[in-house]
């Protein structure tokens, strides 16, 4: 692989997988409110 191809692959990984990592970290630190009892599906 060429140097630029490797660099662009690493950039894509950093942005998209790093973005996913940030997003998961964000929701785990911010709990919000879970339903106490989930509604029945009648």
């Amino acid at each position: 692989m060429s140097g630029t191809a490797i660099m662009m692959m690493l950039l894509a990984m950093a942005v998209l997988w790093g973005g996913l990592g940030f997003a998961i970290w964000n929701i785990t630190r911010y709990k919000g409110e879970e339903p106490e009892v989930f509604q029945r599906d009648l």
Partner: protein, 518 residues
């Protein structure tokens, strides 16, 4: 909350937690397009440089539109028709239009899953022999001349029936026990299976040549409008936005959930999976090129050709080919099923809300006719032509068109984007500003309208794939038009007396205020 709105909500079902909702939403977004469309689109549109327009499209159109769907479903707590109806009296037709589109998509999407399931088994003994293309159209699909026939193909019909039986069981089990439980199991398995496929593909001879072809940047491509259109198109079609799925799923989430944070996870998970797919697919294509003594550009393909012709060729040549086949086609099945159940749930949810039906009743009322139409049209020797035409037209003049119309209506006619922004910000971990309203009301519709007009002109100038005019007129333009007409006719049916048609959030806040006062 008033008694009427409380009744409606208890009746509808819900996900047991935000985690289940996120997995279900990822399951919907990650579908066949992530695996067989993104890699080729990226390769054709600048390679490594494509990441820039792709990221811009994700941040300025994909995620804002995803949040619009989330806001609408979460605030108004209903299926697409009910949520639009609660947002504005004149909005219900948009919801039914989306329901119609989902019904059409479910009919043909099931067939591709059935093919993939069959090919998972074919992989074990490489049943396609040395001519995968001849096998696909000849021995397997037995494709005749374009038309609509009733010559059933057992090898297609039997797995198609099994797919529908499985889907009906999942849908009848309900939001949590059916959709939620399926997603909780299927999504981690899909991720593991595809990661294993990528690892195996990376060990093949020529894999680095494939990655080189995919990631080598063509910076000049960034000056071409078509590349930016491709990025917006890929993000739009990949995220399951604009046709009711995310509205429906968001209505099943706890009232005080963090929807903006969840949206960020779903958006990046979808794009992250696309990148993984790109690496796996192009590593395998690099091997295919090396085996044939040619270059990657000679073997690169997408869609059905990539899945059912290129991959069998790779499986024939590769060490551990059967393993690659099971992982690849198994991944298509898993990704396809979690997307199919989200599509059909839009229809079931709409019918349940309108007629106050039971979960099992609505699942059968929707699923059985969908399955029968699917088997009759797609289980035959002409099924592949039906699939090709309906898929082409409903994506462009169904999904794309309703997305533009609904965004403009919510922004400029119903004027609900400020309310939805406030709702998303109330419990959101990420606050969105007025810029979001401009993206939803102006930037995203403009980008999608550009794509739509371009597609419209191309399809008027040149009949799609040279199919007969009557087929394009009925299965293409006709179906796309029919879902609009039927969608707006559906609004003429009255809601049940017990269905709460006002804003449930206002009702809830009013009750809280009263209880606080007394």
């Amino acid at each position: 909350m008033s008694t009427a709105s409380e009744h409606t909500e208890k009746h509808r079902g819900a996900f047991s937690s935000r985690k289940v909702f996120i997995l279900a939403a990822i399951g919907s977004a990650v579908g066949l397009g992530n695996i067989w469309r993104f890699p080729y689109v990226a390769y054709e549109n600048g390679g490594g440089a494509f990441i820039l327009p792709y990221l811009v499209a994700l941040l300025t159109a994909g995620l804002p539109f995803l949040l619009l769907d989330y806001g609408l479903g979460h605030r108004y707590r209903g299926s697409a028709p009910l949520s639009f109806r609660r947002a504005h009296r004149a909005g219900e037709g948009l919801g039914w239009w989306q329901v119609g589109i989902c019904f059409v998509i479910a009919v043909y999407y099931a067939a591709v899953i059935a093919w993939a399931a069959r090919y998972t088994l074919f992989s074990l003994d490489k049943a396609w022999g040395s001519d995968p293309e001849g096998f696909l159209f000849g021995s397997y699909l037995q494709a005749g001349d374009p038309g609509i026939g009733l010559d059933f193909v057992t090898g297609v019909t039997v797995p198609l029936v099994l797919v529908w039986v499985a889907v009906l069981v999942i849908m009848a089990l309900g939001v949590q026990k059916g959709i939620g439980a399926t997603s909780v199991v299927f999504i981690p398995v899909l991720l593991l299976a595809f990661a294993a496929l990528v690892v195996v593909a990376l060990t093949l001879d020529g894999a680095t040549a494939g990655l080189d072809a995919l990631f080598t940047p063509d910076w000049d491509a960034l000056t071409e409008t078509s590349v930016w259109i491709a990025a917006f198109g890929q993000i739009f079609f990949s995220l399951s936005i604009g046709f009711g799925i995310m509205i429906t799923y968001a209505s099943y989430v706890g009232r005080r959930s963090d929807m903006t944070g969840s949206g960020l996870v779903v958006g990046f998970a979808n794009s992250g999976f696309e990148l993984l797919a790109g690496i796996g697919v192009f590593a395998a294509l690099g091997f295919m090129a090396a085996s044939a003594g040619t270059t990657v550009d000679q073997v690169a393909s997408d869609g059905l050709g990539l899945a059912f012709i290129a991959f069998p060729t790779i499986i024939n040549e590769a060490p551990a080919g059967a393993l690659i086949g099971v992982l690849f086609f198994g991944s298509l099945v898993l990704a396809g099923v979690t997307s199919l159940i989200s599509v059909i749930e839009v229809v079931i949810s709409g019918v349940r809300d309108k007629f106050e039906m039971t979960r099992v009743g609505a699942s059968m009322a929707v699923g059985v006719p969908a399955a029968l139409i699917s088997i009759v049209l797609l289980g035959t020797t002409t099924g592949i032509y039906v699939l090709d035409i309906v898929d082409h037209f409903i994506n462009r003049f169904g999904i794309l068109l309703v997305a533009v119309v609904s965004m403009l209506a919510l922004s400029w006619v119903f004027r609900k984007t400020a309310v939805l922004r406030g709702h998303l910000n109330r419990d959101g971990s990420i606050q969105i500003g007025t810029w979001w309203q401009w993206l939803i009301g102006l930037v995203t519709p403009a980008a999608l309208t550009f794509i739509l007009v371009k597609e419209l002109m191309a399809n008027i100038e040149t009949p799609y794939e040279g199919y007969p005019g009557w087929m394009l007129g009925t299965l293409g333009w006709g179906v796309a038009a029919a879902v609009i007409v039927l969608g707006f006719l559906a609004t003429l049916m009255p809601w049940r007396d017990e269905t709460f048609l006002d804003d449930p959030e206002e009702a809830h806040e009013a009750r809280e205020a009263r209880e606080g006062r007394y």
